[in-house]
């Protein structure tokens, strides 16, 4: 009865026309079987068609079916179905009506299978081998796999859901079961599992409208239309206005489906196959039977195509939102070397890396993070080079994050870092693709998050954070010199004010007499004790720095000039601070600007105030106490299992790339502490032309 339901084209006259008189009797038999058929236990007809051929469904990705422990009821139902005829109408030639039957009944799983086999048709199979897949496909698949692995996910595609009955209640079912990983713990804001795509278009649309809060929500568009096949089929596209490319949608989805659909369908080909292979010229087309994939795809700017009687949805990649173009990195500027920086678009960022790292072993895996915002997160590594344990640990941490909202790579960093009370950065954040590539080639793992122009390299250690790409782009003596200068800058930024106040307050004897007299003379009219003086200036400077970042662009330099020059000059003239202190604060600021890592610079700024207090109360002894505490904390810190002070403490083999930056041809060894798959970067003699008769490859 269900088979008859909702099929307006299934009439006796049409059947006569399609099948011919010679088959009239057999058709009548089949029809009578269909009409008189009673699904066991009131199961929907189309579900029986799917379950009747489990063997055919092996290639499909149906977690519900592959889940361990099918119920006895299902087995009983299956036996009954095996007794029922599987061939409803055996067409002499392929016609749309037979296509519908296949779509909806015994060939329910076929479209997916065909898709998998027919990757040449433009669609892509959702199997794990091809790692670099669009986020809306791969990431979701992996989410599902993860759920399956954890063994407690009962996806809400119960019999009713699969029939399209319970799809509308998918959210509630999911919550009620309370066993799924995706179960919402904070109300219905989590989309969780929505169940399967039904063969009933209206039910699919109803469910999706409910999910997207339509019609209240105005920017999700449900465009219903008719595919111009024979007979016409109802269909709908769903997309979010503003996130898609309208021209692409019109030309490659709506126009072919509405105007060019009157093509002959080959024998044995389903309507879904025809639509995917012949009618949708998009370069990325996926078919899915999960409503969650549909929702994810639509949220990512794709267009979902739903066709009546087809229990699968087609997701066409039509991203077209506005985004910033690739530009120069703003915070990690180098003189020589590439001048490209990451943008806020994940795929652009991964492409920037792949553009310069032409290796088939470069693998990009996608994950969804954040239960509400479901942000795409890419993990990149070089297969065969990166330590598998490190990679597994990175993925484990990312996948285990179950926060509602992760807006940024810096937020993700806080979720996956080892120690939360350590001031130093435990991952290396960079906006430079070349730096990410250098890390990947060393054996690090890169994590990129959609909407953020910073990649995270992990594990990180002090020396990696401290280094700058410029060191490698200039010749080695200058690279080493730059590092020493930066190290000195870091020392100044952290210790200079504390050292100044320690010497001024407790160790006058260290200062040469002439200098001591000069300092004393300059401080003679200052009414404050030296610690107050230092704190006034340091706090003022931090205020100026913070304000100049936050104010609108044109006013920033003005504020800097006003703050640094005029206020400083006025403060000295008013005898609030001494001139020597202005020099100390200025040199400290310059030192902190020399530190290339913003996170490390923040660490230095924070510790500076601690050191000022230690220096003021305990002199150099206090500073040494601070150094000892910092040292022990750093020595006990680990980043993804790698000690933070490696390769000095503990000692580990690495190339000449620590404080001293050796020539490129001396960089023969990859860092031992990363335990890369290939410990050597290059042979001992990498300059072949030095060998006798060398120079040829």
């Amino acid at each position: 009865m269900h088979a008859q339901k909702g099929r307006p084209g299934l009439t006796g006259a049409r059947l006569d026309a399609c099948l011919g008189v010679s088959k009239w009797m057999s058709v009548w038999d089949n029809l009578s079987k269909i009409i008189t058929f009673q699904p066991p236990q009131r199961k929907p007809f189309e579900l029986l068609g799917t379950e009747a051929a489990p063997g055919k469904n092996q290639g499909g990705s149906q977690p519900g079916q592959s889940a361990a422990g099918k119920s006895a009821q299902k087995q009983a139902g299956q036996q009954e179905r095996e007794e029922q005829p599987k061939k409803f109408i055996k067409p002499r030639r392929a016609i749309p009506i037979s296509v519908w039957y296949r779509c909806t009944q015994d060939k329910r799983s076929c479209p997916g299978d065909h898709l998998g086999q027919a990757g040449q048709g433009g669609s892509r199979e959702k199997k794990g081998d091809n790692k670099e897949k669009p986020a809306q496909a791969e990431g979701v698949t992996q989410d599902r796999d993860r759920n399956k692995d954890q063994g407690k996910n009962k996806i809400c595609n119960s019999d009713h859901d699969r029939a399209g009955v319970g799809v509308q209640n998918g959210i509630n079912n999911d919550h009620d079961e309370g066993k799924g990983v995706a179960r919402s713990e904070c109300g219905n804001i989590d989309i969780g599992e929505l169940g399967r795509v039904s063969a009933n278009l209206k039910k699919n649309l109803k469910c999706l409208k409910k999910t997207f809060h339509v019609p209240t929500n105005k920017d999700v568009i449900f465009r219903e239309f008719t595919i111009g096949a024979d007979p016409p089929v109802a269909a709908a596209v769903i997309y979010i206005d503003g996130m898609t490319d309208r021209i692409l949608q019109n030309l490659s989805i709506l126009e072919p489906l509405m105007l060019l659909a009157g093509l002959n369908v080959d024998r044995g080909e389903t309507l879904l196959d025809t639509v995917i292979k012949r009618l949708l010229p998009g370069n990325q087309v996926d078919a899915t039977d999960e409503l969650r994939d549909v929702v994810d795809g639509v949220l990512m700017g794709s267009t979902a195509v739903l066709i009546d009687y087809c229990p699968k949805a087609i997701i066409v990649e039509t991203k077209g939102w506005e985004h910033r173009q690739v530009g120069r990195p703003t915070n990690e500027i180098v003189i020589r070397g590439p001048q490209e920086g990451f943008t806020e678009t994940l795929r652009v960022n991964t492409a920037l890396i792949r553009k310069s790292l032409h290796s088939p072993n470069l693998v990009t895996e996608f994950f969804k993070i954040g239960r509400v915002n479901r942000l795409d997160c890419a993990v990149m590594y070089i297969a065969g080079l990166t330590n598998p344990q490190l990679l597994a640990e990175v993925k484990r941490r990312i996948q285990s994050v179950t926060a509602d909202f992760i807006s940024d790579s810096s937020v993700l960093e806080q979720f996956i870092e080892d120690s939360h009370f350590i001031l130093v950065p435990q991952t290396l954040a960079t906006e430079r693709p070349d730096r990410v590539i250098a890390g990947l080639v060393e054996g690090q793992v890169a994590v990129l998050v959609d909407g953020n122009p910073y990649a995270l390299l992990m594990p990180a250690n002090f020396f990696a954070v401290f280094q700058n790409p410029e060191d490698a782009y200039v010749r080695w003596p200058f690279g080493s010199l730059l590092r020493l200068i930066r190290l000195f800058g870091l020392f100044l930024a952290t210790f200079l004010p504390g050292l100044y106040i320690a010497v001024i307050s407790h160790h006058h004897e260290m200062i040469p007499t002439d200098l001591l007299l000069a300092i004393s003379a300059s401080r003679e009219n200052v009414p404050f004790p030296s610690i107050v003086e230092v704190l006034i200036m340091e706090v003022s400077f931090e205020l100026i720095r913070e304000a100049s970042i936050r104010v609108p662009g044109p006013i920033g330099p003005t504020l800097g000039i006003v703050g640094a020059l005029i206020l400083g000059q006025a403060a000295v003239a008013a005898n609030i601070v001494s001139p020597i202190l202005i020099i100390i604060v200025a040199v400290t600021a310059i030192g902190s600007f020399a530190v290339s890592s913003y996170s490390l610079s923040l660490t230095a700024r924070f510790l500076r105030f601690v050191n000022i207090l230690l220096g003021a109360f305990l002199g150099i002894y206090g500073l040494m106490l601070g150094v000892f505490v910092y040292l022990n904390i750093l020595a006990g810190t680990k980043s993804f299992g790698v000690p933070y002070l490696v390769p000095i403490a503990p000692q580990a083999k690495t190339g000449p790339d620590l404080l001293y930056r050796g020539p490129a041809w001396q960089q023969e060894q990859r860092p031992e502490y990363l335990q890369p798959g290939q410990p050597k970067r290059q042979p001992d003699i990498s300059r072949g032309w030095l060998k006798k008769g060398g120079g040829r490859r």
């Binding site: 160790h507 002199g619 002894y621 106490l625 000892f628 020595a635 000690p643 503990p650």
Partner: protein, 343 residues
């Protein structure tokens, strides 16, 4: 150092050299003992060899040893800092500050302590070498003569007792199960070699710089030596920098002592974690450090008591345990043979 110069006179550096060699020899039985019980510390080994009651006695001796040494080090370094760097600071505050640093190190764990020790070694080693070399203008080689000092007999006898200077290798027996690569023999001998060489060279530099009568009057000869450094008008009085840097060494010393105390207690009581004992052990060390009334008393106790008899718990008791183990093993072997003959 000054007291050692009083005993050894011009041959004081030879005493340290001999003490290092004797310490190395005395350490060998201890290392052999630990190698026969992989995965066990000296506390568990003692329990296995002499039973829980006698082992309790041993543990008390080890604890006294491990708590009194850091207490004295704490007081000494705090007093030095006060004398040299910041005289107006109360000694209690100076000691509390050092203790905070040490507790942090212990809290971060053994790995953190070992790694920060490596870093501190660079700093302290560099400054000691610098301070020694920069006094070169004051060196007088005639200060070393007569080379034999008080004579070979005194040098050997003092060398045996001053092997206590190397008591730190005992710590290896306590943390033996935690060693990643349990080569206790190589590690211990290496530590004794490096430490002995460093102390010998420092003593040599002091003897070269100061005459023996002058040196034996000094309470802080390293400070006096650093005071002599003159690098021009703009770099003078660098002792204010050197001595606080050497305080890093003191903090490490105290941290190792606290960790050893905690480790001994937890291993004896078969408890899983060290950390709950950090604060109690630190308070005990802090309290012990207040017992001497002044720096002179501290130095006297350090030189005439601790660094004279520390070789007994550090080397002698492990050697006795080694002897017991040998006897037991021999007894078992003989028993096995006699049983076999009877059988």
């Amino acid at each position: 150092m000054a007291a050692l110069a009083e005993v050894g006179q011009t041959g004081a550096w030879l005493i340290i050299l001999v003490a290092s060699i004797i310490a190395g020899l005395l350490f060998l039985p201890s290392a052999a003992l630990m190698e026969r019980f992989p995965g066990k510390s000296i506390i568990e080994v003692g329990e296995e060899l002499v039973g829980p009651y006698f082992n309790g006695l041993l543990v008390i001796i080890f604890l006294i040893f491990c708590l009194s040494l850091p207490a004295l080090a704490l007081r000494q370094y705090a007093e030095r800092v006060l004398t040299v760097s910041i005289p107006e600071l109360p000694v209690s505050v100076a000691m509390a500050g050092m203790l905070v640093g040490s507790i942090t190190g212990c809290y971060m764990g053994l790995e953190a302590l070992a790694r920060s020790s490596l870093f501190v070694l660079y700093f302290v080693g560099f400054t000691i070498i610098l301070a020694s070399l920069l006094t070169y203008p004051y060196w007088r080689f005639e200060h070393l003569f007569p080379l034999g000092g008080p004579g070979l007999g005194t040098i050997m006898k003092e060398g045996l007792f001053r092997s206590s200077l190397m008591y730190g290798v005992f710590f290896l027996s306590v943390i033996f199960p935690s060693l990643k690569n349990p080569e206790i023999r190589r590690t211990g001998l290496g530590a004794i070699g490096i430490g002995g060489l460093a102390i010998t060279l420092t003593m040599l530099a002091m003897l070269l710089t100061f005459d023996v009568p002058v040196l034996q009057e000094m309470s802080l000869p390293s400070y006096e030596m650093s005071r002599l450094i003159y690098l021009g008008r703009f770099l003078q009085r660098v002792e204010s920098v050197f001595v606080p840097i050497w305080a890093l060494n003191g903090m490490l010393h105290v941290a190792v002592g606290i960790y050893a105390g905690c480790a001994i207690i937890t291993r004896f009581l078969k408890l899983p974690y060290n950390r709950p004992f950090l604060l109690p052990v630190s308070v005990i060390i802090y309290s012990l450090a207040f017992i001497p009334t002044n720096i002179s008393q501290v130095l006297w106790i350090d030189f005439h008591v601790v660094r004279y008899y520390a070789w007994i718990p550090a080397f002698l008791l492990p050697t006795v345990l080694y002897g017991i183990e040998k006897v037991k093993k021999k007894g078992k072997k003989n028993g096995g043979e006699s049983n076999a003959q009877q059988g």
